[in-house]
Symmetry: C2
Subunit: 303 residues, 2 copies
């Protein structure tokens, strides 16, 4: 992928995600034409959490727009763990489904880990199965979580070759912090993983050529935490009160105090309009990768 | 485990490994008495590499000394990959074998990764299966590679609670660097992974409260790389010429220039006599853990 990454300093998620989706669509077209293969992505939604509904709908639209098959399965919020696992096994066995995910969070009666462990690692579109975490850590072909992949695509577009650069990741979740660290290590960065127990977070952050904030605390990373010229990737999506927009109104902010950091950073992702837009595009890319691997089809090197 | 970790500054691998082996032996005795369970460790040796022969023999002796069952299987250096995999499947199915490993390196006609992937992750005494790497990374119960586990046991004995301390790991191998980093992260350290592509390795190392050297380059880490008071864990075992001992003689040195670093460090592992002695003890501990998990037996918390 080669795209102008930024409007000045701003790393524009919309431009990069749109380009990636177009790349995915072109690859899907090739797979259909040359191999008669239509990649399929399925989503299982348990209950009707409104935010999940929106996200699942957006995934479905993007999947169809890319020429792929989109499948959606809904289970009631009262579904038992066994019922969810039965659906997982059904999708594991369905040859039209190359990748799928169960939308989290799931209701309390269902163990998230039990669901993850039941997913065929080869169809694990979200890259959450421990086998994929381990394959990523071991440098083997893996299904990679979409948001971390999006972060690294953005960092590379902004920074070029990352080899030897010092990346500091604040946050160590299985969903973002840890896989981002693995991906940056694979890019030959020196990688520091910092978190709530770390001493002198600002001092650690100031060492970063690439600073990834993935903690879920609004505006935690201040301008003076940023080394001049650094690439700042803000994974946080936090809803905060916005009385300036009217009583009871809210707005989205990242983990980085954008107005301060933008003055210091070499490049920075905004919130909204940054990393968040990459997740669906990377999920679709994952599905194409999975479809190719399952069918022994080589992907273009730059995909 | 609680043991005096050091003779002054020196973290004595012999004392710590002996104490750990005694702890393992006591647990084995309890499992036999209370559950009629004798943990069993098997080793598969392909060919007759002299260093591997010595190592396998030492493992066997230590296993029997701890009261466990020791199994040794030898295949000729000409064995095919299929023959090795057949042995792996046999051990996967053998209820008397709770943990096993195939001694690496294996001859060229056999894929190391194919062997690793074939091992039942629950019996993976060396913790090399990607599922175990992923379970470790995801904070789930895992079989953990023995040498990294030994490093962290030593660091904790020397440094107490490691929470919030800055650990710098030089080296990113699947066998040592990456799992050490995961284990130190689990201890709530800030963790930096540095490697051959890192800029300013000395400067990075000097930040370390806990410095782990796992690169395989004799005496690479100099005294002025060490922060005063730091804990230094030297994983390197390098054979170098020792003309002072006579023509053609050699000696073992670590990745750390010991004579320089010992003047600055708060505590340091020697080579030989340090980390190397922990590996067999941790392997036996792994086998006991595996035997307990496979039989639904709880282990003492401090095991």
């Amino acid at each position: 992928m080669s795209t102008s990454p930024s409007n000045g300093k701003i790393i524009d998620g919309k431009i990069i995600a749109t380009a990636l989706k177009a790349r995915v669509a072109a690859e899907v077209a090739r797979l259909k034409a040359e191999h008669g293969l239509t990649p399929g992505l399925a989503v299982v939604l348990v209950g009707n959490d409104p935010a999940s509904e929106v996200y699942v709908r957006n995934k479905g639209i993007a999947t169809v727009e890319a020429g792929m098959n989109s499948f959606e399965y809904r289970l009631p919020g009262t579904a038992s763990q066994d019922e969810v696992l039965a659906k997982v096994r059904e999708l594991n066995a369905d040859p039209a489904v190359h990748g799928f995910l169960v939308q989290f969070p799931v209701p309390d009666q269902i163990s998230q880990q039990a669901v993850i462990d039941a997913i065929d690692p080869n169809k694990d579109a979200d890259g959450l199965h421990p086998l994929n975490a381990g394959r990523l850590a071991s440098g083997l072909p893996a299904m990679v979580p979409a948001t971390p992949e999006g972060c690294v695509i953005m960092a590379k577009l902004a920074g070029g070759d990352l080899s030897g650069k010092h990346a500091v990741v604040i946050g160590r979740s299985n969903l973002v912090g840890k896989p981002v660290a693995q991906l940056l290590l694979k890019e030959n960065c020196t990688v520091t993983i910092a978190h709530s127990r770390s001493h002198d977070l600002p001092g650690l952050a100031r060492q970063a050529d690439i600073l990834v904030a993935a903690v879920g605390r609004p505006n935690m990373v201040r301008g003076d935490w940023v080394k001049p010229g650094a690439i700042v990737i803000d994974v946080g999506i936090n809803r905060v009160p916005a009385p300036e927009k009217g009583e009871g109104k809210t707005r989205l902010v990242g983990d980085v105090a954008f107005d301060e950091a933008v003055k210091v950073a070499g490049a920075i992702t905004p919130v909204p309009g940054g990393v968040g837009l990459m997740t669906v595009a990377c999920l679709m890319r994952n599905t194409v990768i999975a479809a190719c691997r399952q069918n022994g089809i080589a992907l273009p090197k730059d995909f």
